[in-house]
Amino acid sequence: MRARYRALVALVLLAGLGGLAVHADVTGDDRWPYPGPEALESDYDRYVDQRTFVTGSVAAVDGTEMTVEADTPNSVLRLRVTGVAAPVEPGGVVQVYGTIRPDRTIAAERVEVVNSSFGAELYKYGASAVGALGFLMLFFRYWRPDTDTWTLEARDG
């Protein structure tokens, strides 16, 4: 099939992906069973006593209390999380599942440490960078771009 038709099909598929990107954002709050950072930021008191699930970075830790900052589109939501001690340092990332209490406080039932520190996050990105580089080297060992047909062709024919 000619390159222009393949490019056209690819563009249609990318347009479909763009549609999903918009749909997923517009319907995000409806599809997520808990009030998220954006909803809490805009009208916190409305959600008091409901359950929530928030992922955010740890700003401070003090025993069974921590301060967690979750990103919203326009700002950062700062929450006090109480009730669960977690092995995490400031700069780490946690998931918090618990009940919304007044004064921007979450009574946590479960806290899961996603990245225990900023270093743990760096490790993840380092391993991913090694993976990306290694894959590209491996891929082009077996495949080459054919500029006559604008396709990828196997090197062994």
């Binding site: 598929l13 918009v22 589109p73 899961e112 993840k124 993976g131 891929f139």
Partner: protein, 164 residues
């Protein structure tokens, strides 16, 4: 999500084992399947170009989240397929989709504080499958286990090919 290297190693292991029984599935095709495993990781484009910045620039709501879902895997898988000659399409699309699915399933097994994974079957369903909460994404033991298994499979593969 697990790191990209772990994502790539899972289809390498599965497809290499499958290649011992499937004649056409040689290393040339195994790497294509591995490429599909990287699709859900494209959600990390957010680090390079923040989705809020894209939203502001385009003036419409926008999130990268679908890249890490079945819909994203199928659509990007289709785009990747278009980079190959037509005679390879079904093979490429099947392998790339398989690779993407292994990453989605692996990510669906990580820890979620409420016990349910993300709705990675979006847009076909918003259901969040239960997760066995096996690991957190920054746990290096996940990569160590993946490397050990991949190393063992690579050795067995070499022995298998030299025996043929």
């Amino acid at each position: 999500m697990a790191d990209l290297l772990t994502h790539l190693l899972v289809p390498y292991v599965l497809l290499t084992i499958a290649s011992w029984r499937v004649d056409w599935l040689d290393r040339t095709w195994v790497v294509v399947g591995m490429g599909g495993a990287a699709i859900p990781d494209m959600v990390k484009l957010n680090i390079v170009l923040d989705s809020n910045a894209v939203e502001a620039a385009l003036g419409i709501p926008f999130t990268y989240a679908p890249l890490s879902s079945l819909g994203g895997v199928l659509l990007i898988g289709g785009v990747i397929t278009m980079a190959f000659d037509r005679r390879h399409w079904s093979r490429v699309f099947g392998l790339v989709t398989f690779g993407g699915l292994t990453s989605l399933v692996l990510d669906g097994m990580r820890v979620y504080a409420d016990g349910r994974a993300s709705a990675y079957l979006y847009p076909f369903t918003n259901w969040r499958p239960p997760t066995p909460s096996l690991y957190v994404s920054s746990d290096p033991r996940v990569l160590v286990v993946a490397l050990l298994i991949a190393g063992a499979v690579a050795l067995l593969d070499r022995r298998q090919r030299s025996a043929v």
